[in-house]
Symmetry: C2
Subunit: 344 residues, 2 copies
DNA sequence: TTGAAAGCGCTAACAA
DNA sequence: TTGTTAGCGCTTTCAA
């Protein structure tokens, strides 16, 4: 009794009819007599018939499976994305295979081809940090396999993408700080080479300008502090000890925000009374940041949903139909912690 | 050019040979002339031939896919488990399909049958909190589909399981507190109905006994505090204000530990100088607990690996071979935070 | 209203 | 050494 599932053939044999009739009966085809239909469905019910999806896949040359490649599943952000993907995928009749690149280019290449070999109908990808060559995407995309990028997107491939609105998020969170009454808001920025850092900086500037606050280069922290909590703490400490210290800080991500927080606490500042911290929370710390820090959260679930929708739309498009690649920009969620909680 | 992958037939046609020869050549069958072999492999290389795994699955009646059902992927513990599963599965040539029950019985039942319908070769499950009936497991297990439970196991099904050594973990962490010099160690316990709580209580008692410390019922907190941070905080505050307060606390999980920590901080106790906290960290807070709390961590990655190994062993067992269900009990990792970090 | 046959891509027993 | 054939489970034309 080794995992023996009943087949159409078994039902056909037991009823003394052909398997094509059984097939038709099961899918309520008009040209089947009510009696046979009933006999078949009853028997199917009795034996708990489940169509063999592998045979179906082969027949239709379609696996009804979506592949997902993410850097690391343990990050809160990515696991929420997966939930969003599954939400859409399951209700559209797709299974989801998840694989992790662990931020390694080589693993990503392997995963890509493994999914292709597994005949997934499409792939959702967020690139690894290491990835700078895109041949593997190119190859499978050229072959006609639909791809949709999310969050860490690849500009070199002409396909649909889902990203977050960095500019608006930074604008919103800075505006929030201003509205709370903070007068001198510093910014711990990311490397200027990253487009993301630029967008966030621009959002920050826009909020300042809109409230007639001067942009002051002397309270902008740059360099590698964005990825280094210790360095962020150190630079913040220097800033707090300067002649004209800020009373708030917008940190580019939550790793930086944590460093800032430690510096502030060490200095004995009460948060958020004496010193406010706001930060973009990235995939690493969202659930971990101190409740006192206001963050702009990446809408992971939504992003997963949107990416899955775009992909399925493309998968299910007719042969001749031409689907224009589309880039969706999602608004961030402004999470105001420490006082009330509001999601925008 | 709609996702057209090259097939054995294409290669055969181009070379003017039969597809069976191509098939043989590709798998290095001895009875193929070196010339044909070379011609075939060259062409396969050129066209980037990838065997159609769906056709293979149908042929072999084996999908080489493992299904996983977990309560929620966003929990640190479960996402580590998944990584462990994928680690073993991929190197054994299996894909992994993950689905989430979201702690709902109904979803779990649906997921179970969905995986069965998708013809996975076996299923790894950690039960939802709601689940008290086991017919869905029973059904597919009887049908011959291998199942392995992990962490939240089901005693009603006779199959392999992987669990954590609650007794030993509690013993280790309590012993650690004693060795650090704490003299009066309280215990925030879980509901007595849970076997897990009993095991942890027993481990706690063993450590006390071994060090000739008296078990004092008056510093044992019971009730629903284990699942309620606020209640844990309240009860701890009472305890700390009592005549003979403890100087350390072993909390049954990290939700409770957080409550304990807040109570201690509110009272102005320095951790771990004045008051030490140790806790079993469960799937919810592992990555979030305060660095000052020593925890016994569930070895998620290891658990995933072990569960996957057990499952694959069963999947790949010969027809006639009888595999005895096996329960593996994994040692916890003692993570000593705040001072040095040691993993046992 | 039903059945026979072909085919999705691959493999393996059998034949040549 | 290679080819023919059948079959994994299902659907779908075509024929009856």
């Amino acid at each position: 009794m080794k995992n023996s599932q009943i087949t159409i053939k078994d039902i056909a044999k037991e009823l003394g009819i052909s398997s094509s009739t059984v097939s038709r009966a099961l899918k309520d085809h008009p040209n089947v007599s009510p009696e046979t239909k009933k006999a078949v469905t009853d028997l199917a019910e009795k034996y708990n018939y489940q169509p063999n999806s592998i045979a179906l896949s082969l027949r239709r040359s379609k696996s009804n499976t979506i592949g997902v490649i993410i850097p690391e599943i343990v990050h809160f952000f990515f696991s929420t994305v997966i939930s969003g993907i599954e939400d859409i995928a399951y209700s559209a009749g797709y299974s989801v295979i998840v694989s992790q690149s662990n931020e390694s280019y080589d693993r990503e290449v392997m995963d890509t081809f493994a999914l292709s070999k597994n005949r997934v109908d499409g792939i959702l990808i967020s690139m690894s940090r290491e990835t700078t060559r895109y041949d593997h995407f190119e190859t499978i995309h050229k072959r006609g396999l639909p791809i949709v990028f999310f969050d860490r997107v690849c500009d070199a491939i002409n396909c649909s993408k889902v990203v977050v609105d960095d500019f608006d998020g930074a604008y919103q969170v800075t505006k929030h700080l201003i509205q709370q009454g903070y007068k001198r808001i510093a910014h711990l920025a990311g490397p200027e080479s990253l487009i993301l850092s630029k967008h966030r900086m621009d959002g920050y500037k826009k909020a300042l300008k809109e409230h007639n606050m001067e942009f002051d280069e002397s309270i902008i922290l740059r360099g590698r502090a964005a990825d280094n909590e210790m360095l962020a703490k150190e630079l913040t400490t220097q800033l707090l000890n300067s002649d004209n210290p800020p009373d708030a800080m917008f940190a580019i991500n939550d790793r930086a925000a944590l460093g800032v927080m430690k510096a502030a606490k060490e200095k004995g500042l009460r948060i958020p009374q004496d010193f406010a911290i706001a930060g973009f929370s990235n995939w690493e710390f969202t659930a971990m940041t101190d409740p006192a820090i206001t963050t702009v959260d990446q809408p992971g679930f939504k992003m997963g949903q949107e990416a899955a929708k775009l992909l399925i739309r493309e998968i299910e498009a007719d042969e001749d139909e031409i689907i224009e690649p589309e880039t969706r920009i999602l608004k961030t969620d402004l999470i105001i912690r420490g006082s009330s909680v509001v999601a925008v």
